[in-house]
Each structure stands twice: as C-alpha cells, then as structure tokens.
Symmetry: C2
C-alpha cells in the first residue's frame, strides 16, 4: 500500500541484459535496479530519502526485457520538485516527466531505457497485482539464418531442431501443475504454477521462437522448460517426457538449462484498475499461506 | 573473369559493423574483409596462395550487413582439399562446405557469419554483375519505442520527426540524377546514379525505417540522403529542398551525414544467370569511360 503523503508511479522499462548482473541490486555489481535506483537518487535525493523500485519480474543475469514493469513511491516533496523541473515541456504529466528525467540521467547507459511513466492507479503493485508474465526465447538452429545483429538475444544452436516435436512437448506441460522438475529448489517455497501458454514457431529468418506465459515463474523455470523442448527437438527425449516429468518430485537432469542470452521478458499482465488492490491482496495472502513467510520466499517470482 | 584451373564461389555474408573498421582491409585494423581473408588463408593456404574476396558493397566503418555478397576464386587444388575435408556431412556441395568451414574458423567472432556458399554461375562477379544495392536506415525518434536490444543498429533521435514530410522529400530525389550534393567528392569520378526506391515507414515500435535502393551508391550517399530527410522532418528544410539540391554542383551543407550505426546493407540484386557476364562487362566499360581509369575510381561503390 502507498503511504499517506506519497504517490506511486508505474514505470515501463526495457534493457539489454548482456552487461548487467541481473535485476536485483548486488554490492559492487552492475544490476538494472542498481543503475535505476542510483538515477532516482541523483534526481530526487535533495528532496528526501528515495524509495527503491519494486519490480514485476526480477530477471536473472543476462536476461533481457522490453516490457518490464516497476513501481516507485515518491514523497509529496519529491513530486513537487519534479513538477517544478518542468520547464518547456509543459504538456507532460509527472509520470512522463519522471521517465524522461531518468532516461536523461542514464544518458550514455543506452542498455537500459525508462520507456513510460505514469501515476499508478489506486491499489497498483508492480509485483503483487500482476496476473501473468510473458517471456520469449529465441534459438537460431541449423535451419535458421544467423543474424550477427541479433546475436545478443539469440542462442545459436549447431543442429537443426524438430519444431513440431518441440511444440507437442510444450503443449504437454500446459496448465496448473507442480513445476518442481523445472525449478531450482528452495526450502519452504512452492513450485506450483499455471503455465498458460507455451508455443513454438519460426520467424521470417527461420529462428525458433518460444512464447511462454504463466501466472509467475520460479527461478530458471523458462530456461528449463525451453531446454527440455530442445532435448526433444534433438531427438534425445521422447515428446511425452517433459510432461511426464511434471509428476516427479525434485529437479530433473535429463536436459540443460539454456543460457540467459536467448531470454526476454516481453510483457506483464494486470487486471482492470478496479481489481488491482484485490489481486495484490490475494497474491500476498496465497504467498503467506504457501510459503509460511520463510526467508527467500519472494525469490520465486524470478526467472 | 575466372582464371582457368580455378573455381569461383559466391558467398552470402552478414555482420554487425559495430566493432569493425569497415569492409576494406587496413593494416593493423579489424575489418570484415581482413577477418574473412585471414579465415580463408587459415583454411586453404597449405594448398597454394589464397585470393582476396571481391565484394558487392564495400561498407564504411560501423555499417552493418545482413545480405552482403562476395566472391572468391579457389584453385583446383584448394577445391579438392575442401572436398576431401568433407567427412560426415557428405550431402554438402563445396560451396556450403566452404561457408561452413569459414564460419567454424571464425568461431567466437560471432559478429560476422558466412551464411551461404555456392559455386558461382558462369560470368558472376559480386561487384560488377550487381544491378542494385538495397540499404535500410533506422531512426527511433521521439514518437518511437527505444529498444536497447536494437540500439546497435538504430539511431536514437531526441525529437519527433514528421514522417509524411520525409516521405515526400525522399520521393523528390528518385530517378537518374547527379548526386554530387550527397557524395564525398572524388576527382575523376562520377556522381550520377539511379535512385530506384527511397521510402519511409514506421515499424510496430514506431521506429522510422528508410528503404533505399540504387544501382550503386557513392561514398556516404545513403547517410546523406537520410540526413537531408531528417532536416525536413525537423522542419529545418522545406520538403522540396533535398530534390532541388540535385541541381547543384558540389556537396551540400544544409544537413548532417547521419551516423553509420543506423545503416544496414540488406540485399544485392543480380540479373538472371544468362546476363551475368554481359552485365559485368557493361559495368566495367561504363566505369572505364566515366572514370578514365583514375585511381580511386573504384571507391564509388561504397556507402
């Protein structure tokens, strides 16, 4: 919940993860949130302590995003300072102004951009209001054109993969399931998720593109799901095997967790404004019940 | 013409120009041809002296390509050595084998890829048989989404540009014209070209994309044409002005030559096989007549 005397802003963020050690701040390492928190402090610390960003999907080292969503709470004094800084572009509201000023401060760090900013709707929480996250994974296999300009966001695979078999394997994992076989184990933390969409197609260059959507993902889950499909596409695993693994406890070792570079967070879905607060409340309550409030429980929103 | 006792191969090449000092070899500098000539020598020098690549469009420092075309002549001994190296992939012809082996030698240099290889049709010359070159220039202006993953091949422009005006300005330059106002001057060298296509559109992210096609380009010509349109899109030049400049001698200074990073060579067009040799002969004869064989005349195929 937003504190009295403060305003919550919703930000849309894009980054090339290549030169970041992931989203979450780590001492001495360059991370996306670290860079953004520093920019916020540069912009607003004269006007009081600056809150940290809260994010929808805390991406791992090397993972990219075009549709990341975060929120930050600014004090009334900070909002007023922001409004006063509005000189010529008088048509801009405080949210657009915040995004523009942050992007200006980031300046030469062109691998992260604050694309949008707006005052958040009542009850909005970037993490807990989210209904789903959508990721993409790109593989240029032996049947695809390799484009050096897209190499930072594409895994190059030497052999040709059977995309029909991969699509069938993906369909076999859909639904509300226990994804323990595809998650890095964490004590006291649930691995039950709803996989809403998982499909494979080839783009104009023949690049294999997976679209994966779930209510939430546990750590390295997308890259494990995709890795299991690649094992099928190579003929090393039967088409049914990735789905069968959902019935097993513990992490599977029949496939590789694929490299981060092929993975991009595309979009985060939220309910209509009237349902934002209820959704956040519901997510928090379910987490508390499932996770018993154990430390580290909040890490299960990562990929 | 191909020497007796040798075979000409046609190669399709893609590169991210960011970390290259252009196509043409330069002592001590990393260039695309330099890297490829080195790989050819590694592969074949045991079997006799290795020829240099001949290219369709000698791109400038920082310019990218997805559809570059080059040829290289290999001796019979080199072709035989290549064929002997074919171990398991017995279905591959010598051209595909050459492309695969070169890409293998390039290995970690993933910013250049030899996408295709084939034995060239009779009379084929990558440079002189070409009918046209097609380039793309990408600008993310104030109305576009900035994607950090595409920043290496996209110019970020702070203001919003008038794309309708830019399209009208581009149409005013089409046809067989003297592009002296848009070329770096070279003594004894012609600046007459046929601009076959020059159009502006916005992609799904709102990024302004110029497609430019001509029989050939002189040095920095695409980036000058695009720069003139940007001056129109900013309201600094009247829509008619870029076309009017075609009637002037000497280089214009009313617009900027845009940075190389936004520019990609997409495609090189060739006539049907039966016309390849005649086209090459015709291009050579026209050049000789126009340029009087002056040194440096061959530089007028660059951008």
């Amino acid at each position: 919940m937003t504190e009295p005397g403060s305003t919550r802003f919703r930000l849309g963020i894009a980054y090339d993860g290549t030169h970041f050690r992931g989203w979450a701040p780590q001492p001495g390492l360059r991370t996306v949130q670290g860079v953004l928190d520093d920019a916020l402090a540069t912009l607003l610390r004269k006007h009081g302590p600056v809150a940290s960003l809260v994010v929808a999907g805390r991406t791992d080292a090397g993972v990219h995003a075009t549709g990341q969503v975060a929120h930050v709470d600014l004090s009334d004094g900070q909002v007023a300072a922001l409004a006063r800084s509005r000189v010529r572009r008088s048509e801009q509201g405080p949210g657009a102004l915040l995004a523009g000023r942050l992007t200006g401060i980031l300046g030469s760090a062109t691998d992260v951009v604050v694309r949008h900013g707006e005052m958040a709707a009542e009850g909005f929480d970037a993490r807990f209001s989210a209904l789903w996250r959508r990721y993409r994974y790109r593989i240029a296999d032996g049947a695809a054109e390799r484009d050096p300009l897209q190499r930072h966001r594409t895994l190059w695979h030497p052999r040709t993969l059977d995309d029909d078999a991969m699509g069938a394997a993906a369909r076999g994992m859909l639904g509300l399931r226990d994804f323990a076989a595809y998650c890095r184990p964490r004590p006291e933390s649930t691995t039950i998720r709803t996989l809403q969409d998982f499909s494979w197609s080839r783009d104009a260059d023949g690049v294999l593109v997976a679209e994966v959507r779930a209510d939430a993902f546990c750590h390295s889950m997308v890259r494990s799901l995709v890795g299991a499909c690649v094992a099928v596409g190579e003929g090393r695993l039967p088409v049914e095997r990735p789905g069968q693994l959902l019935a097993t406890a513990g992490r599977a070792n029949e496939f590789a967790v694929l490299p981060a570079k092929g993975l991009t967070l595309l979009e985060v879905g939220y309910p209509p404004a009237a349902e934002l607060a209820a959704r956040a409340e519901q997510t928090r309550a379910r987490r508390a019940a499932l996770d018993s409030g154990a430390p580290g429980a909040e890490d299960d929103e990562d990929d």
